[in-house]
Symmetry: C2
């Protein structure tokens, strides 16, 4: 079943018109005809089976024939991470953590960040593809770049992974099913950022004995958190 995504459909939707790009994809590329079935996802727990009623390659019309709703996960896995210099390393992390079931991703700007700007749209598209591929019904929320200091003040009592000395915990034993997990840039968080986190109730994390790349650390932390769920 070919899957299409639109955040604006919901269980009250009866008929629906695919946008132009998707209409072309459905009717030209996939050569779907009237009567063929597709799946619709809204990234908020809904999966609908729909039947094509008008196979127009610019305005493909469908009617919904069955709706399945899934409850939202009863946990939050929120990875707050400083984007890597190489964008593709972040892209694959977004794909992998989406496949695994992350619920929220925030990009952080640290004093030591090499990348100081990023476009969310591409990350969102990657998350949509990963959601479809892994048959998930919830799309993770992806947040704009925000300064580490501001994030910590607005989200106290989280977890922070860094490479300085400290009272380090293993996430799999301390994760509380909700608080954000901070992963630093290639040059690590600054000492001041770590100190600010500690004074705001953050627990320090060890991600094992070896130096992991930023994106590997993000994925590893996500997997550790998931294993406690």
């Amino acid at each position: 079943m070919h899957l299409f995504y639109d955040p604006n459909i919901d269980q009250s939707t009866v008929s629906y018109q695919l946008n132009e790009t998707e209409s072309r994809h459905a009717c030209k590329v996939l050569r779907l005809k009237e009567g063929d079935k597709i799946g619709l996802l809204n990234g908020k727990g809904m999966y609908a089976e729909a039947e094509i009623t008008g196979a127009d390659p610019k305005r493909c019309q469908v009617k919904l024939v069955a709706v399945h709703l899934e409850e939202a996960p009863d946990y939050t896995i929120h990875i707050a991470i400083c984007p890597t210099k190489m964008n593709e390393r972040m892209e694959w992390m977004v794909e992998k953590v989406t496949e695994l079931g992350v619920t929220e991703i925030t990009f952080l700007l640290s004093k030591n960040s090499e990348r100081k700007a990023l476009k969310l749209e591409r990350f969102e598209n990657i998350a949509v593809s990963a959601m479809k591929q892994s048959k998930r019904l919830y799309l993770p929320k992806i947040n704009e770049l925000v300064k580490v200091d501001a994030f910590i003040k607005n989200n106290p009592n989280g977890f922070i992974a860094h490479c300085y000395e400290g009272e380090k915990h293993n996430l799999s034993t301390v994760f509380d099913r909700s608080s954000p997990i901070l992963i630093g840039p290639e040059g690590d968080f600054s000492p001041e950022e770590c100190e600010l986190a500690k004074t705001n109730g953050y627990k320090e994390l060890s991600l094992g004995a070896n130096r992991l790349r930023t994106e590997t650390a993000g994925l590893y932390a996500c997997m550790q958190a998931l294993m406690t769920i």
Copy 2:
């Protein structure tokens, strides 16, 4: 400290000549001079500090000044996986599992494999880079493509992840610190391959409720195994 890799050096090595590529890298690219220090790794537990005694960009000479030996891990994490159609997905998996501490990777040819040939050299180079980057002293063994059937017969009593019905276990509760973990191709193992595994003492694995890509499954299984170590 810049790191160089050669599997042929060992603790008896006193002086050493970098090969032509590495000599050029050391003396031309990094502009290292006589008296500068480099690190040498053999991928078998040795880290040596060496001093440049002849900064020739074709034949850079070094002498070893200190040797550190690390014991081999007392576990085996052996991921046996059908390579994905897109080579770069396997490449990043090799990078990530090396960072994390996999000890052996075997590429498998399944009845449903789309990729039926591969070049090991690029994977080996990626593993060497990941070993350096993550400051590991052991390079994972990477094995040639082998048929699933033959692998199972030669390596009984392992673990197999598949998407059919079955008596599924969670790797984190059954992993025995040594047996191979089999990950299938995009189209899954064939029913006959799964049956053969079961008759050869393989335990079936569940990797969670969602459909993971081949390379994500490989990484996820590796992380689960590591968490039991």
